[in-house]
Subunit: 337 residues, 2 copies
Amino acid sequence: MAAANVRDVAALAGVSVGTVSNVLNQSKRVAPETARRVHDAIDKLGFIRNDAARQLRVGQSRTVGIMVLDVSNPFFTDIARGAEDALSQHGRSLILGNSGEDSARELSYLDLFEEQRVSGLLITPVGNVLSRLERLRDRGSPVVLVDRHENARTFSSVSVDDQRGGQLAVEHLLDVGRTKLAFVGGPKAVLQVADRSRGARDAISERGARPIRMVELDTMRADAGRVGAEQLLALAPADRPDAVFAANDLIALGVLQALTHAGVRVPDDIAIIGYDDIYFAANAAIPITSIRQPAWEMGRTATELLMAEIADPGLRDYRHVVFQPELVVRASTVSPG
Amino acid sequence: MAAANVRDVAALAGVSVGTVSNVLNQSKRVAPETARRVHDAIDKLGFIRNDAARQLRVGQSRTVGIMVLDVSNPFFTDIARGAEDALSQHGRSLILGNSGEDSARELSYLDLFEEQRVSGLLITPVGNVLSRLERLRDRGSPVVLVDRHENARTFSSVSVDDQRGGQLAVEHLLDVGRTKLAFVGGPKAVLQVADRSRGARDAISERGARPIRMVELDTMRADAGRVGAEQLLALAPADRPDAVFAANDLIALGVLQALTHAGVRVPDDIAIIGYDDIYFAANAAIPITSIRQPAWEMGRTATELLMAEIADPGLRDYRHVVFQPELVVRASTVSPG
DNA sequence: GACCCAAATTTAAACGATTCACTTTCAAAC
DNA sequence: GTTTGAAAGTGAATCGTTTAAATTTGGGTC
């Protein structure tokens, strides 16, 4: 009981395989009556097109890959949903890979995407994979960088002005009267983290404020945030900051959790500001002030850029869409009183 | 500059294509020196195996599909991570589809998975897709149901005893002295919702408590929870419940948000219990009591069941792993005092 | 009735890896 | 010195679809 193929369908419908293919792909005019017969045969046999064969012949897959830093972070799943929504309008589908901030896993997914000849790739890179991405592009799979402003200008990109975001965050903390700030953030190698902390330092020096204490973390997850907070708690009381700028909301949640657990009052003793404005930050034990990034729109826009490149493979006119971050003030930085 | 293929590699290495394939697949003994030459050629040409061709010949993909109800729900991404971790040990990769509780989207992903001849599928079904799944299995792609206890016993499954979970939730609410309960939950058609509410009603009648009010929602997302809460707020004060059992934590968060916004005190006026025990429920404005499901382990276990079926295609001995739910008490049901 | 044209359909050649039946090689055994 | 057999390597056939060139069909025109 082997699965039916185009030949079986053609035989049952009394046409040639070419006609079946034409019906399948609407690539050529087929008489309505013939098309009906072919569809009947397809239904009767339960024929499902073998995508591997199609792909081998055509040279490209109809799916687009997306690689995110962390599927557990709602910011990235929102991006993925934006991309998925946009893609389904183009009749393509999305396959999602999760690098989990792990460079080895990232490479192994890149292998997969490359072997699969995906028609395009959206990626927030972890490791140093630019040359891999260039190869991918040169082989016909355009790449759009997400949440990363690429200086080299060899790829289209969608990003948020993270430096400005960092500035906004620190300015807000200074505005509400905080003086001893700390930045708690993921590996410095992650560009977003670097940009946000640079913006923070810019704002500090612009305002002539006291230097910001840097606490570096291994990852951008909540558990790392707890570790970072514990480092702050271990400081002599005089050194302890009165405000924390967390590199993202998950870290902010971890910091909040650790501080609250240690009996520190938020925001009275220490204020907290996060980044991303995920749903759960707004609904945290103490609603967290954050820098909003338009995740869904970023996913959608990245997809549109990608589709433009897919449609016009010769295109060398890389576009860079930069969204502006937005401050959302909540209880973690301002006392309700 | 067409991409290199096995023939090019073979030519450069001075061997036949068969030997290249043997090196690629470790399927036959190849002399170390020959293997080295082949690898050198691969590196020099930047050869990337064309997976479509491989798949066409072999008849099956090396990837496993997973279809989740909602990528925005951390419960499902935790399952996916469990699956991914387990799969990577078997040298396979995962492609993730998001049905978003939408039956049409579910079907379109099933088409994709079927066309791709995935080597297996993990799925939490939305619509009535059992016959589709049977076809998939009969064509050589085993299917394991996730978070769904299948009576028909035609698939292996991993699930949680949701009826027991519903019972636990209601018993807890009664134990802390609540008498007027409400169940706020997603579409009744979703099996998990049905089981949880049945368990709730069982506990009610067992204890001889007052009947539980049912509030039915369209989805299992937080916004639906807010809508549900508003229905409760619209009730005459005498009818208003003093405890809410939400079908999952996202709904519980929505309910919490709407109640708090309306000035209702949680848990004093109304207690809330959720389901899943996602990270963000534990860290909500008022930490939410929940029924824990071991998501990561479920993903891992489902994968193991799937791998067993893949390894032994004749297997008709479907296994059903049922995890036990666990009550986790937090502030949303018991006053700190 | 010969001719032309467009529409509909057919046919056969790809696409690139894997596989399996078949050589070749070479050392050990008699 | 012949035989044997395991190890290493070869190469043609194959998987199922798409596609482009070729062919058929059937009016419409003169």
